[in-house]
């Protein structure tokens, strides 16, 4: 299995799309943090409380989730687009080993980059706003939550890419499921509608970034619900990958 990890690492580091999407993620995280903090600082009459600074420092997560999902999609859909998937499967005919290699290497790269970007975003906000007191536990939870959330979004993209095998189709699906449909879901009527909205993909997943609780879901249970969505996409993709002709 270590052979497959090494090969996937070579693949992911040797294309420009990786560098670009990761750079965009970092820029979005840091840029939004600086912008929102500066605006909040100007508008506030006194010092901004620490918890509010931390919350607003992670505004970039909304857009960064899309760039991470895009990278996740590309990790596999670019092989289907070029036909390189056949070369990969000739080298590793056990398809689940190949997919596992992609999942593990992508998740590792994503975790490192997204954790660093999240810590950076919180740090930038704290430096600009200079709040009177900061709860370091809250800084750690927010940074960790944001890094994990962005990685989960990337894996969502990887699952959808495996399922759909077509770059534009998979990216549009990822944007719909991460950004568009969660908002639409909140418009559903009645108690049933509220429950659906609460459990719908990123509505549940974002709780780990904000640290809030919503209905029956807290930060970690919300994140677990989101991971279940990601797992469904990934398992559906894996089943089809095994069954379909490459």
């Amino acid at each position: 299995m270590i052979d497959v990890f090494r090969a996937e690492w070579t693949k992911i580091r040797s294309v420009r799309s990786t560098v670009w999407t990761l750079a965009v993620t970092a820029v979005l995280m840091l840029g939004f943090s600086a912008l929102v903090s500066a605006v909040a600082q100007n508008m506030a009459n006194g010092p901004v409380p620490g918890s509010q600074v931390i919350a607003s420092s992670l505004t970039g997560v909304m857009l960064a989730s899309i760039s991470m999902a895009t990278l996740g999609v590309l990790v596999i859909s670019s092989e289907y687009r070029t036909g390189g998937i056949r070369t990969s499967l000739m080298a590793v005919p056990q398809r689940m080993r190949l997919l596992t290699g992609k999942i593990v290497v992508f998740a590792a790269v994503s975790l490192v980059v997204c954790l660093v970007a999240s810590v950076g975003a919180v740090g930038v906000a704290l430096a600009i706003s200079q709040p009177p007191s900061v709860d370091m536990g809250e800084v750690a939870r927010a940074s960790l939550g944001s890094g994990l959330y962005l990685t989960a979004c990337g894996l969502f993209g990887l699952g959808l890419g495996t399922l759909i095998r077509h770059t534009p189709g998979a990216i549009v699906s990822a944007i719909s499921l991460i950004m568009v449909l969660p908002t639409v879901a909140t418009q559903l009527p009645g108690q049933w509608g509220r429950t659906v909205a609460e459990y719908f993909t990123t509505n549940a997943g974002l709780l780990v970034v904000s640290g809030d609780s919503h209905g029956s879901l807290g930060p970690w249970s919300g994140f677990a619900v989101y991971l279940a969505w990601v797992a469904v996409a990934m398992i559906a993709g894996a089943v089809l990958m095994r069954r379909r002709d490459a």
Binding site: D3, V4, R6, A7, E8, T10, K11, S14, V15, R16, S17, S78, E79, T82, G83, G84, R86, T87, S88, L89, M90, A91, V92, P93, Q94, R243, D245, A246
Partner: protein, 296 residues
């Protein structure tokens, strides 16, 4: 041991039959040509050999096992299916390195194969900018990475210039001479005539012939000598055994030298004196014509 063995191999896409009940063996130490018109099912068969497409029926074994059960398949089998099926953004070296790593092949081997196919100087360039000829060489480099005993090439000379064609032909002959199994598909009869020792011919997904090259050619009409002359009637009278056509004489069983000697003695001028060998192309057309008659 038989390198590749297909047994009643079939592939259907919905109602369309791509490969029908195909059985053949590919043996080591020779170039086996896999011949058939476009759409005959050659590429589908190649993909099934490599475990990329699932057969609808039957089986195909590589070195006695299904491809998917090989632990380090690239050390046993090297294949070139589609030279342009590479990520254009990667350098040639990184492309090969990733493939090598999957099968525990050392990085030094990447440099060796790049050298072997003449791409060492462009190893750092992005493969998206490669010409078809260079991409073909890169594909062959990938196939050679694991120093495999069995090599598969799908239409390797398609779209190549004469230099590239000659290079690939020589390369395949060399690999077979080293005792390896070389299985190469083509729809170009003339190409096969110059490369293959053995032929597996398919049409409409079904086996037409599985035979040696010489036997295959021998099945078609015999060779003859074509003679043309401004005084053709006199030449015909002199040779006697010829078969007189409108503008030429067709002679069987006599060599061009014998005919030339006889006509020279008689002082008859010749316009043409050609030994016409039955081509693989002609043999192929005859065979596929027959198979079409049987099927309709």
């Amino acid at each position: 041991m038989t390198a590749i063995r297909a047994t009643n191999l079939s592939k259907r896409y919905g109602g369309t039959v791509a490969v029908a009940d195909l059985s053949f063996d590919v043996e080591p130490g020779q170039v086996t040509g896999f011949l058939g018109p476009n759409g005959a099912g050659k590429s589908t068969t190649m993909r099934m050999i490599l475990g990329l497409d699932h057969p609808s029926g039957g089986s195909v074994l590589v070195d006695g096992r299904p491809y998917g059960e090989l632990r380090h398949p690239l050390r046993k089998v090297g294949a070139l299916l589609d030279a342009k099926a590479v990520h254009g953004g990667r350098s040639a070296r990184n492309h090969l390195l990733a493939i090598a790593q999957t099968n525990g092949i050392p990085a030094s081997r990447v440099e060796e194969v790049l050298e072997a196919v003449g791409l060492a100087k462009v190893a750092r360039r992005r493969v998206g900018g490669f010409s078809l000829g260079m991409a073909q060489r890169l594909g062959i480099a990938a196939a050679l990475l694991g120093d495999p005993e069995i090599l598969l090439f799908d239409e390797p000379v398609n779209g190549l210039d004469p230099d590239g064609i000659l290079w690939i032909r020589t390369f395949m002959r060399k690999l077979a001479a080293e005792g390896r199994t070389v299985f190469v598909s083509s729809h170009l009869m003339s190409e096969m005539a110059q490369t293959a020792d053995h032929l597996v011919v398919i049409g409409k997904g079904a086996l037409i012939a599985d035979t040696s090259m010489s036997e295959f050619i021998g099945r078609s009409s015999q060779s003859y000598v074509r003679v043309r002359s401004p005084r053709l009637a006199e030449v015909a009278d002199l040779i006697k055994v010829g078969d007189l056509h409108a503008d030429h004489l067709r002679v069987t069983g006599v060599t061009p030298l014998e005919i030339g000697t006889i006509t020279a003695r008689a002082g008859l001028p010749l316009e043409e004196l050609t030994l016409v060998q039955p081509s693989l192309e002609a043999a192929y057309m005859e065979l596929t014509k027959d198979s079409l008659e049987y099927s309709s």
